[in-house]
């Protein structure tokens, strides 16, 4: 099948490669030509614009940074809508605000284009290993059409609900992972300052009700002092900004997420933005004089 893909960054590149390896013909556009280099070995065509991609492929995936980027690629000058024929589907796998996703979906429908919001969880490793968790909002019939492609990208794809519902699920995911990382970092900081080995604490807790993948995986990386991303803190900061702005609009009280968002602000402001969000441990150590 001919498939368009726009947004070949840390996540998008391995995802597009997985689609190519599954035997699909890729049609690509990238702002930076260097992003196209990894595709020299696979069946892929480069184009001069997203509109041109849409002229060659009825299904176009996007994986970019934020809502204005999605809107630009989909609806802007030289965007997908300009080149789209009948029955075009845009599958946006970026993490953006639910309200923005709904708005883009409505505007695309006016061009006769179907839109799925399909953000992912699982990070770069999940993207490389086709083991992502995909949360989808949009029409059920469109979801069913795209499902076989989702299966090449992830280990689960769930239709959560109407347009925007995928982004709501992703926002929930970011609350849980953000607050979860903060909780593990605080527990380790607490143990260390109390003169107790956090590795022993982790080992003991893994058997009980406090078990979580975050305690197991992120916790181990904290103990190894391995702060390489993974998932960069500036991106987690962006995602929690989306969560908090959505909460503002809904009149919703999210005190733990708010505290975590402020810690991510502090990380970005103090130069930890390019490190994994588990570097929250470093921030806590700095604030409590544990360095």
């Amino acid at each position: 099948m001919k498939i368009g893909f726009v947004g070949l960054g840390l996540m998008g590149r391995p995802m597009a490669l997985n689609l190519a390896r599954a035997g699909h013909e890729l049609h690509l556009w990238a702002r930076r030509p260097a992003s196209l280099e990894p595709f020299a070995e696979v069946h892929a065509h480069a184009h001069v614009s997203a509109a041109e991609v849409a002229r060659h492929a009825r299904i176009v995936f996007t994986m970019v940074a934020d809502a204005p980027d999605v809107a630009q690629v989909a609806l802007g000058e030289g965007g997908i809508a300009e080149g789209a024929g009948p029955g075009t589907v845009i599958v946006d796998m970026s993490t953006i605000a639910p309200a923005a996703a709904r708005d883009i979906g409505v505007r695309l429908l006016a061009h006769g284009i179907d839109f799925l919001d399909a953000p992912v969880s699982g990070g770069e490793v999940g993207a490389i290993n086709a083991a992502l968790t995909i949360m989808v909002g949009g029409k059920a019939s469109v979801f069913e059409e795209i499902r076989p492609l989702f299966e090449k990208l992830g280990k689960s794809a769930t239709l959560i609900g109407d347009s925007g519902a995928g982004q709501v699920a992703k926002a929930c995911n970011q609350i849980l992972t953000g607050v979860g990382v903060a909780a593990v970092a605080e527990a380790f900081s607490f143990a260390s300052k109390s003169g107790v080995d956090p590795a022993k604490v982790r080992e003991a807790l893994l058997g009980g009700f406090a078990y979580s993948k975050i305690l197991e995986n992120h916790g181990q990386r904290m103990l190894d002092r391995n702060f390489k991303p993974g998932f960069k803190s500036w991106m987690h900061q962006k995602d929690l900004r989306i969560v908090m702005e959505e909460a503002h609009g809904l009149g919703l009280m999210l005190p733990s997420a708010a505290a975590t968002a402020q810690m991510l602000n502090a990380m970005v402001g103090s130069g930890l933005g390019e490190e994994d969000s588990i570097a929250m441990l470093k921030l806590l150590e700095r604030m409590s004089g544990q360095e």
């Binding site: 009149g251 009280m253 505290a259 602000n265």
Partner: protein
């Protein structure tokens, strides 16, 4: 002097009146022409659009709600930019984001129109009395020219810095003020939960190091259980979105403000946005049997 004024709400109306009373010719425009009537009776003139208004005023004041409102009035199809002569001045006294203020100033500068961001603090009472605190961002030369007009409106007028600096100061003001209201609400809630009279706690505290204008004014309303606005909580809610967005953009942690924001979100959820921000006390009471 020939002045323009747009935005005749609870704050704008008394401010426009102060300028009229000081002897200036006032040109007005409003989305709802009804809101002009009281001022027209005092000698102000109505214009058909912001563009037309800008054509007959040396300095135009705006006092509206959101960044989008200011952008539409200044830069829209019938906006100030379409009619303002080169060398005229736009003084925006609304509370909007510093980024939006800088962006609008930049666009106006292309047409040689100067802009000041000049948000105020003090509420309706200070607007009526002409005793607002005015915090100004923009060029010093422009500030000097407009200062006599601002002195008609306020008693503390500070040139804080370049474009957007007034809005930064206002964001700081809102953070300190609403966090203080929350602190008062929590203190008085603790007093009440302990079976101690909240009003007497307030009276005792006013004389000490915890004494503040917020404890006096807002604490007084809490003790009297007077939740009628003053300042509508929905406006503080709006301001928090601005300042928390700035904090995120700048990588600047504001842990207390982040929590206060959540309390105002809860306030909004209960439909109390039209009440005074002392309703933060009612939010705390939700968690009390």
């Amino acid at each position: 002097m020939r002045l323009g004024f747009i935005g005749l709400g609870a704050m704008g109306r008394p401010m426009a009146l102060q300028l009229l009373r000081a002897g200036h010719q006032l040109e007005l425009w409003a989305r709802r022409p009804d809101s002009l009537r009281p001022l027209l009776e005092q000698g102000a003139r109505a214009c058909a659009s912001p563009a037309e208004l800008a054509g007959c005023a040396e300095v135009v004041f705006t006092m509206v709600t959101t960044s989008d409102d200011v952008a539409a009035i200044a830069l829209g199809p019938d906006g100030l930019i379409q009619g303002a002569p080169a060398g005229s001045i736009h003084v925006d006294m609304s509370t909007i984001s510093p980024q939006a203020a800088r962006r609008i100033a930049g666009r106006l500068a292309e047409k040689d129109i100067a802009m000041l961001d000049a948000p105020v603090s003090g509420g309706v009472a200070a607007a009526r009395a002409g005793t607002l605190a005015v915090m100004v961002g923009g060029e010093a030369g422009i500030f000097s020219r407009v200062r006599p007009l601002l002195e008609t409106l306020g008693k503390t007028i500070v040139h804080v810095g370049g474009h957007g600096a007034g809005q930064v100061a206002k964001a700081c003001n809102q953070m300190v003020m609403v966090a203080s209201i929350e602190a008062c609400a929590e203190a008085l809630r603790l007093a009440a939960a302990s079976g101690v009279d909240a009003g007497r706690v307030r009276s005792a505290l006013l004389g000490g190091a915890a004494g503040s204008v917020v404890l006096e004014v807002f604490g007084g309303r809490m003790a009297a259980r007077d939740f009628q606005a003053g300042v509508e909580a929905r406006l503080h809610h709006k301001d928090f979105a601005i300042l928390m967005h700035e904090a995120s953009r700048l990588g600047c942690p504001l842990p207390v403000a982040g929590q206060v924001w959540q309390q105002i979100n809860a306030l909004m959820a209960h439909g109390w946005g039209g009440l005074d921000s002392v309703s933060l006390l009612k939010v705390l009471e939700l968690a009390h049997a």
